[in-house]
Amino acid sequence: MSSAELLVPTGQPDEYLPTVGSGPTNFGWWGMVLLIAVEATLFALLLASYFYLRFRAGPIWPPDGIENPKLKLVLIMTAILWTSSLPVHLAHSAAKKGDTGKLRAFLAIGFVLGATFLALQVGKEYPDIARHEFTPRTDAYGSMFFTITAFHGAHVFVGLLMSAWVQLRAWQGAFDRHRHVSVQNFVLYWHFVDVVWLFVLLSLYISPQF
């Protein structure tokens, strides 16, 4: 695919426009921004529900003799997840320069980091808690904890699917300097999932410590 921008005449004298936009001149980018607005609203409401139940529950939180959330594992997971935003950012820069090789490499690194976070959540954190502390059925605290973290985990999973799709399209040579709105959309989504984790971490893990 040519790396020069393809221009077409609009019908007005001497007016030529590109056939592909990126960022705010591409419908897809707007679609992603609005999808993120919907998802952010969902997370905001989930966390608001958590605090609603918490403040109605009385002075002791977590209730029912459950201990405060343990931080060691989750902080390691957090470091891994947030680190993943760096290669994803670099993948975006590579796409803007049309460097498909770097794009693929950085996508792959981001994918591995995201997958590690998810593996630790589902493979280690959840079984540990469910075996020794509480389950979603124990009480409202347990229900909220598992629902919110799993909801975030599901978003990481969708991000991984998107990453795999972009990787596939990169292998097919679909992207160049002008055509890479799928990469942009994936990057936006991934950063969103990382930012949301800050709020989940602060609300569910850190705030009960005080």
Partner: protein, 643 residues
């Protein structure tokens, strides 16, 4: 203006950028037949489907209410048993809100927004088709519960703990919760589509301050959906987790809070009321200037008022919960914001009245419906602030006074504009005018029937008749007014029927409409009736807020190139323009017909049926088919901006 130095030459076949009807026909026409019935992405076909399907649900929801009115026409009747009555009033609310009002207004938007802003389609044509199929699928899903006699029965707001698995163990509430999650996908997809279309596809020159008020109304609705609907979806997901998987969110036993449901529901529920009313107000603001033969007075104030209503709508949800024992300081604030709604609503009403006063109103049927709407909306607007006053609200809560109020606002405020819209725009869709005489008959039947039905409810509510009870005792003095209401209901239904018959009759025998039967000002009237698949031969350049009144060169054959029209090479393209000033940015190729939206919906319907019959095999298989459909949808065909 983006012009160009450098860049590669245009691709072969596109040399001049000029369009001809033959070229456009070749690129835009869809082959007739079953194939195109299932795969169409034409916003006009999809818009009409939303209308037809939504009106079918109006009939279903209406029949439900007639049966209830028969039951209530006299004390101590037993036409319905209490359980059936519960199911009917629950489904009446769900049907009218989610399957009639919202989709029909989306239908008008789907059909009209691209035409009004001078575009060739919506921004995401396949998503548009998907939105319709999901709406249809969700409607079928809801009414499957009718076949197994398990209609939702906990009211349209489905309060916990009544709706939890202890008090409602059958699948009734599952149909409600899953159905609403399902239809939420459609509404969200549709709204995202509206926002991008409105912000990025307006014809060059149509800066935001020249955009028709109807389009502003659809934009306000779509933005409201984006930030309000997640609350409903979330509430229902939590409810299903509690009912099915033993989680605790709402049941006091596990540390949950029943009021959490009410908060989440009404954080969505009140904006929902406005997202039905806002586009309906937009219909009024489209018809009034045309019928008054002058531009709308106070355009800017009306637009600001619409946006203010959308915004304030997020701050009033607790007024549905005045009687739940919340702390009074919070109630005071919510009471205040509820009173605030009066201001932007009043601004719009006074702007309409000023336009009527300054113009020369022509009393055609659409205008009659709009005048009727103004009267009813004002009456509903008077009982609104009464309910915003906490002491009065606590007195009449859950009585027929509340039923009277919200029917005046919703039926008066949305259904009357919808019928005005039918008389006004159906000629654009079919090419033939509806019959004026029968239109007026229909209006008067509806107007008189409506008031006979709903006005006495104010009085009965103040006298203490509770809503949602299937009968009442003799000797309370309620019989006469209830009988009057029932008669009113049938008169209203007759009026609606007259319009439907008129519509069907007009498609064959109505007077030909021509491109612009009302001599209106907005761009949809610059096309043939019905419009060509590609809408406009040349994308027009706009220099006025009332383009058809101020730009005589606009007409059914497209604006000539000399006057600023853009043919975009006659291909399957539309123009992307900038957000504020609508300056041309990109010539975007648009996707063609696709079977995937339909197939994805079928898979999703399978998932939801699987969930309701609790067969994980069933829903897993359906979910896998859904993932395959998504892959098929996005699989590159080299025709859109897909990379």
């Amino acid at each position: 203006m983006a012009t160009t130095v450098g860049g590669t030459p245009p691709p072969p076949g596109v040399t001049t950028g000029l369009a001809t009807p033959e070229l456009l026909e070749e690129h835009w026409s869809e082959t007739p037949g079953l194939g195109s019935f299932l795969t169409t992405v034409d916003h006009k076909r999809i818009g009409k489907r939303y209308l037809y399907t939504g009106l079918l649900f109006l009939v279903i929801g209406g029949v439900e209410s007639l049966v209830m009115r028969i039951q209530l026409s006299h004390s101590n009747l037993h036409v319905l048993d209490p359980e059936t009555y519960n199911q009917l009033f629950s489904m009446h609310g769900v049907t009218m809100m989610f399957l009639f009002a919202t989709p029909v207004l989306s239908g008008f938007g789907n059909y009209l927004v691209p035409l009004m802003i001078g575009a060739r389609d919506m921004a995401f044509p396949r998503l548009n088709a998907f939105g319709y199929w999901v709406f249809l699928g969700a409607g079928i899903f809801f009414y499957t519960s009718f076949l197994v006699h398990r209609l939702p029965d906990a009211g349209w707001f489905n309060y916990t703990p009544l709706s939890d698995s202890v008090y409602s163990s059958g699948p009734n509430v599952d149909f409600y919760a899953l159905g609403l999650i399902f239809i939420g996908i459609s509404t969200t997809a549709g709204s995202i589509n509206f926002i991008v279309t409105i912000l990025k596809m307006r014809a060059p020159g149509m800066s935001l301050n020249r955009m028709p008020i109807f389009v502003w109304g659809e934009l306000a609705m779509a933005l409201t959906v984006v930030f309000a609907l997640p609350a409903l979806t979330l509430a229902n997901i939590l409810l299903e987790l509690e009912r099915r998987a033993g989680f605790h969110f709402f049941s006091a036993a596990g540390g949950g809070q029943p009021l959490l449901w009410q908060h989440l529901f009404w954080i969505f529920g009140h904006p929902e009321v406005y997202l039905v009313v806002l586009p309906a107000l937009g219909i009024a603001s489209a018809i009034i200037p045309t019928m008054c033969r002058r531009p709308m007075i106070g355009y800017t104030y009306i637009v600001l008022a619409e946006m203010a209503i959308a915004l304030i709508g997020f701050g009033v949800w607790v007024h549905h919960m005045f009687a739940t024992g919340l702390p009074t300081i919070g109630l005071g604030f919510i009471s205040l914001t509820s009173f605030l709604v009066v201001i932007p609503s009043g601004v719009q009403i006074f702007a309409w009245l000023a336009t009527l006063w300054a113009g020369k109103p022509v009393l055609k049927t659409p205008m009659l419906f709009i005048l009727g709407f103004i009267v009813l909306f004002v009456i509903g607007g008077l009982s609104g602030p009464m309910l915003a006053a906490i002491p009065l609200d606590q007195q009449v809560t859950d009585s027929y006074f509340v039923v009277a109020h919200f029917h005046y606002v919703l039926v008066g405020g949305a259904m009357f504009p919808i019928f005005a819209g039918i008389y006004y725009w159906v000629p654009k869709m079919t090419g033939r005018l509806l019959h004026e005489g029968w239109g007026k008959v229909s209006f008067w039947l509806m107007f008189v029937g409506f008031n006979a039905l709903f006005f006495p409810m104010h009085i009965l509510g103040l006298r203490g008749q509770p809503r949602r009870t299937y009968t009442y005792q003799a000797g309370l003095g309620w019989d006469f007014l209830n009988l009057l209401e029932t008669i009113g209901a049938f008169v209203l239904a007759l009026g609606i029927l007259v319009t439907f018959v008129n519509w069907v009759w007009s498609t064959k025998r109505g007077r030909p409409a021509g491109p612009n039967p009302w001599e209106a000002d907005t761009l949809e009237w610059a096309t043939t009736s019905p419009p060509a698949e590609y809408n406009f031969e040349n994308i027009p350049a706009i220099r006025s807020r009332e383009p058809l009144w101020d730009q005589p060169e606009l007409g059914p054959h497209g604006q000539p190139v000399e006057a600023g029209g853009r043919g975009l090479g006659g291909g399957h393209n539309t123009l992307v323009t900038s957000l504020l000033e609508a300056e041309p940015e990109v010539v975007a190729p648009m996707p063609h017909e696709s079977p995937w939206p339909f197939l994805l919906t079928a898979a999703l319907l399978g998932v939801f049926y699987g969930l309701v019959i609790r067969s994980w095999v069933f829903w897993t298989v359906a979910a896998v088919l859904g993932v395959i459909s998504v892959a098929g949808w996005f699989w590159p065909r080299g025709e859109t901006q897909e990379t």
